[in-house]
Symmetry: D2
Subunit: 346 residues, 4 copies
């Protein structure tokens, strides 16, 4: 089978590097171009020495024409705002776009504007499919424009949505208390992710204001069939990879047996290649480097509260791996192609 | 002034060692005896090399008679169950006891039995004062038997109780999502705190079943003036010290201004020597090695949810430091004696 | 092509789990049996939740007969001593053995006895091939008994041996100062690898007495063509995976140009699939999860000292990956089969 | 006793903050001014939340006149180059200066120029006393200008110098392989100390070129009574504080008993308040937050090599604590004033 030529635009960040790691092992893909404005001319193995001896490539300045000429697929790992413009340029030229920024995730340009500022390509929004495969597999098969979900949304939605689908939990009053490693903050050095500052402490950030909130709400509203508002509090902890979303909800019917919630998750995910329902609290350490998800549900009978957890590797299932999973689906390749490795533990 | 002779019973664990660290700097205390059954005969500086050249002492087998003869004060850092018996033996002999186990914290032996098993000295319970100085300072001045609070309860109660006192938040539906370093699990090696297992992941544990739950409820009920049931989920994260309690509650009156909650905390803690209300999400890194507490309150206007946070060092304000603070209060010494050091950051 | 049935004996430790991770992706291997005495009857996914949904298998009690009947290949990840006995039983029954313990590494039973105690199967020693593929590839092609090298020796030998081969450095006075993550110490909880003890410090251990010393000496003697004694100091640092060996040696001819040492490494490793010579100090972070090695050489002109470094992932190239590499060689499969993934960084 | 007014110039970095932590507890010191150019106008508790509720002060722009008018003592925690100028301005105005930069450490402006560039105040050099109290206590009693030693030199010199003094080890061929936490690199965010980059790896840096090399050589030459050149390789490891120097040397007389080296250290440090000779490999974790030093010496009889180790907290004994120790000596205060706390472990 001939390999499909693909480009990574914004290839110099952690998500870009993770895409490279996954795609060099993909049997149906030919990594054709790595684009990174500020690093143009650098060899990737100089910036990321893990590729020394494995990947020989040099970052180039992005040029939509060149990408359209050489590649059928483009992954965009750009900052929001910038990504919408690149997506538009490539979409118009017939390139299938998998956008890992937030630009295509929200269906409403107005909601986008509230959280991110004016949208640069609102006309794209109706064409974008939200790339959470477990929720939108059918639509993705024919997608030409994919909004790859955010890391926190992936962990939270996969944990909560099946229980909303099944009307087991109430849409109102959901709380998501999430814990993330530092790679979600990117490669740009800053005080908040300086080792000496974060190496031995934990803290919340963007309390009541993180931009992933409306993205989670949008998908959960779709599951619940009604509008909802949820509280989302992300925390930064001293590890590089991993997101754990601990979610709290009220049961619709407190009389249901305690195992009803986990049973529903098991039913939902029985045939999913990447999602496992575990009967203990999942540990992000068991997902590192893998595209897998572990979810679990508990019922606190004393307080009548449902507790659901989702754990992922933020750079894989929360970004690059999920994008490759989307690619596999829209190309009709086996969904686990290049994503079959188990986690690196310990 | 003559120094008061004190004993530490159960001195070989992390809390015991932390008591030693604090008490060797205490100008009114003479560290008279270190008791540790299984380590009897060991020099402390062999077990804890940080004391080499500073503390010359050998662990002994506990003997209530000897302690009563030599010491006026005993700190107990024993496992629950065992602690009640030692407390009883010492209390009967006139020694003032500061018990760092859970044995004297719950007022009801029946509630204790639900969570810990049969109580070994229920007759002590009416005499014990809960040693959260910021909440029970007056009673502590004359206490002879102090139940030093648990680490999670300290962080959670100091964050939530003032808002319940002031009837700003509803007693029902409180959720406490807490994150702890590994020292809370003690020095005994076990898989869950083996570096290779915990070094790069985060997970919840004892979901809907952690024994600190009734202790937090008891104190918050006292604040709220009514019974309450809360959801408490502790998480283990890759750091040695620190507890962050992220607490979620509903406002009694959603029309109150957003800053009402932080204002109330500021009013409450204006004169407290160890508690600071900060206007950002507190970071446990800023409390390491110190007896201080940082609390903060936020109002999420989109969802009508109050978010309150408390951060401490679990071994200091969550254990040994708090016990010394109690001692200072009951002896009438300045409350910050031997506890005045700022945190070690970075 | 039919898959070759293989067994892992001692499958419950970290090396065993890493073998499982690698072998489930191996296209020519059928993982037939997982043996682990104390865990017999456990599902592997209970002990190692990263395999939940991926590997369904139960540990069994080791039985040489059963292994010989069902498998052509056995990986032994057992404690030393125990491993020799299992190796003997399997070798006698015609199973090809890849032993990851120290039992078959030293050619001399007398040297073994000095460091480990009496050898339990000295008759095997003449038949064992030292499984450092880059040094013994030809012999491995027909090996039936492979002594997979230790983690420290792998990093140190690959850095130093080419310079001894080429007579660029003196065999006398070599110093190896090595730094290791905690996984090298295994899964058994112990104080030295308890998170609270090791999480924020660094220290040497087994100074002038680590058992990998004679193994390194044996291979370097082979390179140097003469006996040598070297100083080896391992250190434990707060990370899970990775070994860095910083090696110091005297040049044979101080007049050689500074780049002579790195040039020799480049010449040696030009065609090696797993070894890259880098021009900066290698970082173990860039090798995590991969079978790759990074080496570098420097000349300190001020002091006339050669500094050579080798970095690996101790569980992959230092154990399980190296064993799979040996298997690929002795079966004539492409050497990188199942080992082609790049490192997980960050 | 009246308190001595002191200034900290360059107070916004980690060393400055550590000086604040120590000096607020110093009974004879009045912290009069905190100077930090780029942070002028900021409250220190905003930049370092560990001081919230403890230290109320605002950074100011440095002004030598104002410092000379208000303070008797100035600690300089400035970048090299800048520090020499400030030291000169203050020295001329009669202020006693404790300089924590490298500017006054090397006696020769020519050697300084080789490693750092032109010296900005060479006329100061003859007046500066090297502030390693254990080596220069007498000279420090009357010093007006103190060059507080670097972190690596402190650990290495305290380990090696006594053995050179006693002619037990050879001055030639010394190797220092050092491991440091990240705080030595300061608070300025950069890729090399970004959590995601350094959190799970170890690597050497500035191989054969670290600027602390001539400083160590200068002091060891003084001990040895002859010129020497040594190899120094620093490594960065994933922890915030701590330096371990593992030093290798040849014995002058291989026939000496193995314990001769540790015995000599014990003799040397018998009356030192901060140095302890331990009989195991010291762990930096046992020194965190303390001004103490642990040293140990071993003899590897197989190879005839002496191995000496020194462990410190780089921000305390390696910087701020050592400066306060110098101040205590030159003021005639008890040497441990404000430095008596034991380490924070675990």
């Amino acid at each position: 089978m001939e390999r499909t030529p693909v480009a990574i635009v914004g290839a110099s960040g952690y998500v870009g590097a993770e895409l490279v790691r996954l795609l060099v092992r993909h049997p149906h893909v030919l990594l054709r171009g790595l684009y990174a404005h500020r690093h143009a001319g650098h060899e990737i193995a100089k910036d990321y020495p893990q590729f020394a001896g494995i990947v020989q490539a040099t970052y180039e300045v992005f040029d939509a024409e060149a990408v359209a000429r050489d590649c059928e697929i483009a992954f965009l790992a750009l900052p929001h705002g910038e990504s919408a413009r690149a997506a538009e340029a490539l979409h118009q030229r017939g390139v299938t776009v998998l956008d890992l920024s937030a630009d295509l995730r929200l269906r409403s340009a107005a909601v986008y504007a509230e959280w991110y500022g004016d949208h640069h390509a609102p006309s794209l929004l109706p064409h974008a499919v939200y790339g959470l495969v477990e929720r939108h597999r059918e639509a993705l098969r024919t997608a030409r424009l994919v909004a790859v979900p955010g890391c926190y949304p992936t962990a939270a939605i996969l944990a909560l949505a099946p229980l909303l689908d099944a009307r087991l939990i109430a849409p109102d009053g959901i709380i998501i208390d999430a814990k993330s490693g530092t790679t979600g903050a990117g490669r740009e050095p800053q005080r908040s992710t300086h080792f000496s500052e974060i190496g031995e402490g934990v803290r919340a950030y963007k309390v009541a204001g993180h931009r992933h909130t409306p993205e989670i709400e949008q998908e959960l509203e779709r599951a619940a069939g009604k509008l909802l508002r949820l509280t989302f509090t992300p925390h930064l902890i001293p590890m590089t990879r991993g997101i754990l979303a601990t979610c709290y909800a009220l049961p619709v019917d407190p009389a249901r047996p305690a195992q009803a919630y986990a049973d529903e998750l098991r039913r939902t995910y029985a045939d999913e290649p990447f999602v496992t329902v575990v009967d203990h609290a999942p540990d992000t350490a068991h997902l590192r480097g893998s595209n897998r998800v572990q979810v679990a549900a508990f019922y606190d009978a004393r307080t009548g509260r449902v507790i659901v957890m989702g754990a992922i590797d933020n750079l894989v299932k929360g970004a690059a791996g999920q994008a490759v999973q989307c690619l596999n689906v829209l190309r009709g390749w086996p969904e686990t192609t290049a994503l079959d490795g188990g986690a690196i533990f310990p």
